[in-house]
Amino acid sequence: MLGFLKQPVVVTAEINMNLVALTVMGLVNRLWALSYPRAVVFDEVYYGQFVSLYMKRIFFVDDSGPPFGHMLLAFGGYLGGFDGNFLWNRIGAEYSMNVPVWSLRLLPALTGALCVPLAYQILVELHFSHCAAFGAALLILFENSLITQSRLMLLESVLIFFILLAILSYLKFYNLQKCSPFTAGWWFWLLLTGVACSCAVGVKYMGLFTYMLLLAIAGVHSWHLIGDQTLSNVSVLCHLLARGLALVVVPVAMYLSFFYVHLTVLYRSGPHDQIMTSAFQASLEGGLARITQGQPLEVAYGSQITLRNVLGKPVPCWLHSHKNTYPIRYENGRGSSHQQQVTCYPFKDVNNWWIVKDPGMQQLVVSNPPRPVRHGHIVQLVHGITTRYLNTHDVAAPLSPHSQEISCYIDYNISMPAQNLWRVEIVNRESDTDVWKTILSEVRFVHVNTSAVLKLSGASLPEWGYRQLEIIGEKLSKGHHQSMLWNVEEHRYGKSQEQKEREVELHSPTQADISKNLSFMARFTELQWKILTLKNEDTEHKYSSSPLDWITMDTNIAYWFHPISGAQIHLIGNILTWASANVATLVYVCLFLWYLLRRRRKICDIPEDAWRLWVSAGGLCVGGWAVNYLPFFMMEKTLFLYHYLPALTFQILLIPVVLQHLTDHLCRSQLPKNMFSALMVAWFSSIYLVYRTFSPLTYGEPTLSAAELRSLRWKDSWDILIRKH
């Protein structure tokens, strides 16, 4: 029983001093004077507003990526006790005292610092020497662009951290695979891979590239596993299922959970409400919900409604009409019906109110009990203020001559009869007898006589139409498009018989008492879709660059400039590291092709083990570089130098791989080896020197004189700010 007492309790701790040293150096190098400058630097102005919105729990949509990154930054703000009260309007603005600059910047800086030991461990796990691994970590440590990017409230360093973490945990997992599958460590690293991948994707969609790369590598490894005939079918299946669970199911679940937290934390309505559908807006506190709280759910004959176009592009707008008529002749000489204009108006207005009328009856009030409108019913839509009927006829629309004009009918007695019957088609119905519901139902209005569909064309009318958006009757309805769908946003049962009373009623706010809640999945789907499809128009930027400029670092970005002292922070890399990384990539690719072709002819220049190492390390580093770099050539958005940093990290990891390979296999005798080492020392020292030289631009301190700045302009294309005297 007490046998264990016979042995002394021994705790053996193994501390890799390399790792400790690297971590400390990384922390010092990234965290030093972190809260300097106490001013908004570059994209902090962009991320900062989201942090503020998080602090105030106000809903927002950011089309640049998923919410996890913003959440992490906001977490820093939360730790520092930030109340969100800061106007993020201009780069260079001084932070007020309530902004905890240090803790806001802490998280990116920490993750940036941890990239250094991660790089070390990745190379160790790839079975390279500790010397090479140490070299890789040092290169990351002294890379000015990575330092700049991690010392500010930006997301790239967080992204790079998760990418490297995913790679490292996969390598650990793979190395455990051979000796001890299905142990606790094996599961830990496997799951950590999945978690890190989803975090990377959650920070920026760029993480998806590395995730795909890891999936591909895992796929190749699994394929080898399938070919391993020493394993039974069942155990192969178990292996595959475990990988599927950890690398697909867990990341997807994590990704959903980010959105869950996002939507739970942000429950107040805010500036981006308008982008979302009415149903989504109604689920937020304040905003539309205040209006729609307790509206009647079912649209009935006699209901007073506003109709919002579901598409929300180019701007969200409501079906609208006003007293003015279409001009008799347009500028291009075409004629119109000269009837009352129907437009789509992007602001709330009393002229957005319409009344649903039963064609068979005269009254415009809701009967008791209300008779709900169902899918397929024929209705007339009466404009509330002018009491004219929504009408369309065989007259060309003002800007889209191939479609029909929509008007509110005025009888001029010119043998142009009213054609104002519309069939209500609920597109998202569950059965054919569904009732038309406020907010939830998406409805198409099909004209009974001509089968034209009420549609927002997206063009805005000229002066006579007050630049409101054009509404047309699309005759050749090609499939379903959101611009043809409408939903009821505000709704009340009409009670006033007389037009005067009705006008008063239309002006009064709606009220009633049902609330509608969307399920999480519906909200997630909508938000995700909006993030993916929302496009910022024309974002030309002074410092935007093309991917070709990145490899050679022909461009830099001025992040911050002190208006008085002239101190400045630039995103500018260690040019020597960049150049060496390019050379290493080139050498790797050439050597790889050379070996590959020679091996195909059964000539083996290097031993089998070395070859396998060469392929796996290269597949990871060159592959990581390629997947994080090449896709940018196909992107149409505005690109900046910092988009290259993840690719650069992989490229830097390749340098020691190539160097060690060269020393091990190409320098056969002792003399070249010694010379090589000497060269290495010289090269490392010059990298350190370059780092020191550019560190004033990286840290923003000390302030340099104009002459010193001019001497730092090593490339003509670099834009270093030199004050005129």
Binding site: L311, G479, D538, R600
Partner: protein, 775 residues
């Protein structure tokens, strides 16, 4: 050693013993002639016989692996499916499907006798070739040249205007052009038949694939009109066929049929890209296949490096150089034929336009160097960029400063003259030099080109450009520095040749055209801005086009005519930009790639209303859905097979061959389908349903191979007679299904008159299976 081994491989391909006795060379007429040709070659190059002798011996042992292995096999088990007996068994079906194919494509070819759908474009372009007027299109010229040629040969004189769909042809002869397209479209069926036959060695698979294509309403419709698609698909299938053929001839490299098919592949590739850039996908397919091929050869240690080099060179020559030469040649023809000024001039640079007869730059002579006091017009270097323009109208209230508008217009209308403050009329001519500070005065309105820090009307981040001042007096915001791209200071500025950048002196911004159209108040001309972002884009570059200065001698511009490579490059730039410019408009309903394989929605070729003669491009839904199911089925079967092999399952010889066909041949076709389909998901331009048809061809061939293999698998698992029955009945059922569905849907291609399908009296009543179909 071109003749290496030919002689020793003389023994004809073993036809009798192989399980599917259709060895590659037994089918091909070229290959059948092969031994003789080979022998002649050997004789002709007798010297290499001696050296190659021993090598060939080695080759022989290695090469005929399959036939050599067979005799040792105990008598092959009886097959459930009938093996192909003789070439007759191959030719007779070929002849009949070809006949059927032609019959189905030429039936009612002249109906409807009016312009249908895109005939309005391609017919018009054919006419341009006949009239030799220059035009611009986003596709390379070959397809339209062939249409023009067909029209010319069939007696069409190029006078029909092809204004809009629905225009009656009247007495104009359009049958020639339609017939040409239908002829090429009919060839697809025999091509598909031969490809599948070659790949699967199974007659029924080939017949299935061919009948799918014959009885697909979509393929029929698309082949019957003056369109580029039948021409594109003809070359595409031609390329695949010749690729497959030359792969089967691989046992006899450098033999005549091998060379023939290899170079034919190259020719077809040139044709495919020459018709549409979509042809690049088939180039990719052939390229990947070739890389794989070379990789296999490289791994073959019995081949010397010299032989490998020859293999490589042969492919480089036939698959890269030959297509390039042909492709360039067709552009040469294009430019030679179109020598008159026409609607396409404005898209091209001034230098390009000087080639065209009738263009006002043709044979014009102007002073060569720009001088102070010259009257000039300036053209923007952006693709389809217009001329710097101004008029008496002011910018409206609220749009920057209320000064005179400056814009870019596609028509020559304005003149500007650079003026300098120290201009002395008595003095001799002073030339404008690189780096000079100048003022530009609008001749008509005598206002200066001016910019200031007001935001531009459309591009808010740029500065507004206006006309300001009167009779030359203005302010400091009228000064511009003129610079020539890539030139040092002090040089003169050349008309047409110099690319000029105008930098605003006060704000440092650069004069450019944003490419956005101004609203009504600006007469829908293109916006001119001053951009503070200093980037080298053609938007911000200009050249001087017209130039009048009586004090300077005129020189002829003939020396400035661009060389052929320059024209070629420029026309490609214009085409590529034009293609990427075809963006869908906001709120426009466009076809999405995922719609296509499910046959979600077709295209109206002709007619809308009940009284019209309506033709609707829509695939035969049964066929298309069969194709769709088959892709899933194929993936499933391929995965199962490949995993089974990887897990070391022991397969019988029969199944091994089947899985070989499935993975290898099916894989090639599958790759073709992927290459012709997936890229569309990444394209930003407007897409149409007919873009799927090349992929559909591959999908149909895959259907043939997959079902044939599946039925053979099933049959192989059952007893002999039972298996045979399953196989035969399965194939018959599939064929009948296809034919019956064609019977149902044939009015889609051959014209529908009368009520729409939603009406119960319509002949198509009950056939509108999807709500999105519009017939």
């Amino acid at each position: 050693m071109p003749c290496e081994g030919t002689r020793l491989r003389f023994p004809p391909c073993p036809t009798a013993r192989t399980p599917f006795p259709l060895m590659p060379c037994a089918v091909v007429p070229g290959c059948r002639r092969l031994p003789r040709v080979g022998a002649q070659m050997t004789l002709a190059v007798g010297c290499c016989q001696a050296e190659s002798g021993p090598r060939c011996g080695g080759l022989r042992q290695r090469r005929p692996r399959r036939p050599a292995g067979e005799p040792s096999r105990p008598s092959p088990p009886p097959r459930a499916w009938a093996p192909l007996e003789a070439p007759v068994g191959v030719w007779a079906p070929l002849a009949s499907i070809t006949l059927l194919s032609f019959a189905s494509r030429f039936y009612r070819l002249s109906e409807p006798p009016h312009v249908c759908w895109d005939e309005t474009h391609f017919g018009k372009m054919g006419s341009y070739y006949i009239n030799r007027t220059f035009f611009f299109d986003v596709h390379p010229p070959l397809g339209k040249m062939l249409i023009g040629l067909a029209g010319y040969l069939s007696g069409y004189n190029g006078t029909f205007p092809f204004q809009k769909p629905g225009d009656r042809y009247g007495h104009h002869n359009y049958i020639g052009m339609r017939g040409f397209c239908a002829f090429l479209g009919s060839c697809l069926v025999p091509f598909a038949y031969l490809i599948v036959l070659e790949l699967s060695k199974s007659l029924s698979a080939a017949l299935l694939a061919a009948s799918i294509l014959i009885f697909d309403t979509g393929c029929i419709t698309l082949s019957q009109y003056i369109l580029l698609d039948p021409i594109l698909m003809f070359f595409l299938m031609g390329a695949v066929l010749s690729m497959v053929k030359y792969n089967s001839c691989a046992v006899r490299p450098f033999s005549a049929p091998w060379w023939f098919w290899l170079s034919l592949t190259g020719v077809n590739l040139a044709g495919a890209i020459g018709v549409k850039f979509v042809g690049l996908f088939v180039v990719l397919l052939v390229g990947l296949n070739t890389v794989y091929d070379l990789w296999e050869l490289l791994g073959d240690l019995s081949l010397s490096l010299v032989t490998l080099g020859k293999h490589l060179l042969a492919r480089v020559f036939c698959l890269i150089l030959l297509p390039l030469v042909l492709y360039t040649a067709q552009f040469a023809v294009h430019f030679a034929v179109l020598n008159k000024s026409g609607p396409g001039d404005g898209f091209f640079s001034s230098a390009f336009q000087s080639r065209l007869i009738g263009n006002n730059l043709h044979n014009v002579s102007v002073p060569e160097h720009l001088a102070y006091g010259s009257v000039i017009t300036m053209k923007n270097l952006r693709m389809a960029g217009g001329y710097l323009h101004s008029h008496w109208h002011l910018y409206p209230e609220g749009v920057g400063a209320r000064q005179q508008q400056v814009s870019v217009s596609l028509y020559h209308s304005l003149s500007l003259l650079p003026a300098s403050d120290h201009l002395d009329p008595s003095c001799s001519v002073e030339f404008v030099r690189h780096g000079d500070v100048i003022r530009l005065e609008h001749k008509e309105t005598s206002r200066n080109l001016h910019s200031h820090q007001h935001e531009a009307p459309m591009t808010r981040k740029h500065f507004q450009v206006t006309g300001y001042g009167i009779n030359g007096t203005g302010d400091a915001n009228d000064f511009w520095r003129i610079e020539v791209v890539g030139r040092k200071s002090g040089k003169r500025i050349k008309v047409l040749r110099s690319q000029i950048r105008l930098t605003h002196l006060a704000t440092g911004c650069i004069l450019g055209s944003s490419g956005k159209t101004l609203p009504k108040w600006g007469w829908e001309q293109v916006e001119v801005t001053c951009t503070p972002y200093v980037k080298e884009t053609p938007n911000a570059l200009w050249n001087v086009e017209d130039h009048i200065n009586p004090k300077l001698p005129n020189i002829s511009l003939d020396v400035l005519k661009p060389s052929f490579p320059e024209i070629l490059l420029e026309s490609h730039m214009v085409m590529i930009r034009g293609n990427s410019g075809l963006k869908p408009k906001e709120n426009e309903v466009t076809s999405k790639p995922w719609h296509w394989p499910i046959n979600y929605q077709g295209l109206r070729f002709s007619g809308v209303n009940e009284t019209d003669y309506r033709v609707y491009l829509l695939g035969n839904p049964v066929v298309w859905w069969l194709n769709l199911v088959t892709i899933g089925l194929y993936l499933l079967m391929a995965t199962c097979t490949i995993v089974a092999i990887k897990r070391g399952a022991q397969l019988t010889v029969e199944f091994k061959e089947l899985s070989e066909v499935l993975l290898h041949s099916g894989g090639k076709i599958m790759l073709g389908w992927l290459l012709h389909y997936l890229p569309f998901f990444m394209m930003g331009r407007v897409l149409y349903f007919h873009h799927y048809f090349p992929a559909m061809l591959f999908s149909s061939m895959l259907t043939g191979i997959t079902w044939d293999t599946l039925l053979k698998f099933c049959a192989g698992c059952l007893s002999c007679s039972m298996g045979k029955r399953v196989y035969t009945y399965g194939m018959l059922a599939l064929m009948l299904l296809i034919v019956y569905s064609f019977y149902l849907f044939h009015p889609l291609s051959y014209g529908m008159v009368g009520p729409m399908a939603s009406d119960p009296n319509s002949p198509m009543a009950g056939l509108r299976w999807l709500e999105s179909w519009e017939f």
